[in-house]
Symmetry: C2
Subunit: 314 residues, 2 copies
Amino acid sequence: MPSDALPDDPLPSWHDGRTKRAILDFIARVTKQGGPDYAPPAERIAVFDNDGTLWAEKPVYFQAQFALDEIARKAKENPALARQEPYRSVLAKDLKALTADNHKGLLQTLAVTHANMTTEEFASRVQDWLKTARHPVTKRPYTEMVYQPQLELLALLGKTGFRTFIVSGGGVEFMRVFADKVYGVPPERVVGSSDVVTFRMGKDGKPELYKTAKVEFVDDGPGKPVGINRFIGRRPILAFGNSDGDLQMLQYVTGGAGPRLGLLVHHTDGAREWAYDRKSPVGKLDKALDEAGARGWTVVDMKQDWKEVFPPAP
Amino acid sequence: MPSDALPDDPLPSWHDGRTKRAILDFIARVTKQGGPDYAPPAERIAVFDNDGTLWAEKPVYFQAQFALDEIARKAKENPALARQEPYRSVLAKDLKALTADNHKGLLQTLAVTHANMTTEEFASRVQDWLKTARHPVTKRPYTEMVYQPQLELLALLGKTGFRTFIVSGGGVEFMRVFADKVYGVPPERVVGSSDVVTFRMGKDGKPELYKTAKVEFVDDGPGKPVGINRFIGRRPILAFGNSDGDLQMLQYVTGGAGPRLGLLVHHTDGAREWAYDRKSPVGKLDKALDEAGARGWTVVDMKQDWKEVFPPAP
């Protein structure tokens, strides 16, 4: 804990200031019994985007990196694959080729690495990857590329009667593997994108769920409020995002009656993390940044507001 | 509470016997710290079908009755409708016409009464209906057509660290209106069938969610384990159903490792409720009844096992 943090400070990695006050003030108001802004525990639902909001998303989305690493693993097991697409481009690290034509190569890569297996097989592959993979820049496990200030906020919300949900464009089956352990968010509170899953009897006569390559739901942009309605069934009172993919989620959450808090992480720290916004291909923050002022959303300036970015190495 | 029930009996409306013992024994085993069948609270997930399992489903599914009543209400507001289908057949109570051709008329009726409005408008219509509608046979509000023994079981599971979910072929937006108040199951723990919902900006510039008539997901039969995976993300340890629409859900839940409990309500009480199984168009129980023995599922004989069926009138 930073030396200048009070021992009773619930958000020790947040600098004291406007942003931290806005968060603590909101929590105080909605939990104050008999206060004008009191929200009963049932209504205390907070939704968080994942990529760029709870963990980093550079140089590429971590789930995309998982897919790239899986391609390498499979090609090693079966060298003949190396001559086929998308394996060839992935192994050549030809991100340009993979992202060309509306990310066709990346979509092929996702299909090859995420589909045509049971949900249990997929989960165990993600688990194996998380154990061994390291971030290309920091060399840390991806599960340590999470934001310490957000871990503190998730914990504080849990302690004050909130139910925290992840609402992310990432794959729901991917995030559920680590969300519980890393964020304390159990599988039933993870909302994400999904492929069509089918029920069938396995060879051993045991029922199983099989992941197909057909996209079922994209939990991004206007899909986020739709996903919130589908999975949660009521309007949260707090939403935290970082990109234009979170725009409609923040519009929906802060558009309700009563006390609402909309928050955006602005990646302004090129030294400790990455600095990017309006022109970034990953985590583009443009329209939502423009709307923040008009709609009264709180913009978190990573460089100014966060004392720590990542947790200390264990 | 029935006079012969012990004051400390957590299931006073269940007759003592094999069925009640199977339930209490399972709960005791999975909650016994250090016992061989102990399940940590996170794993204590119980899923319940709704129609015919938590509340009655005769003479027709209550959601279908809501649709029929809505048709009458709309035709009263706009008499010209009465000459069009499905209004004509509904007003003529011509169930035969409505169920002909793969329930075409009923599907039209569902579209007319469930779609082309915001999710909030739909919820308020269901709320209004529940306030005034009465069951055609018992003349009781539909929210009193719930099974008292099941209310006691839901409460007991909640007290013993379980999270109870509804997993029903019924519409998720319909059930969420009353599940919290009637069953103590909050919206985020209701899994059901759904139409495509779209996000849009309303005329007042406020974001809204709009219900379309396009079916998105049918949470019945093989759709139930798929819905469980999608919404809950892990395999429950207890499943309670009453019809062949629950077959795959029970196969999936009881097909997992460790302690599992599969239960089926068998509607055997023509005096206090309805007696039906293999040949009933609503709530058909045939294949699942055949599999119950082989898979060790507990069949609840409503007539023999339940002291009370419905709660006493308030």
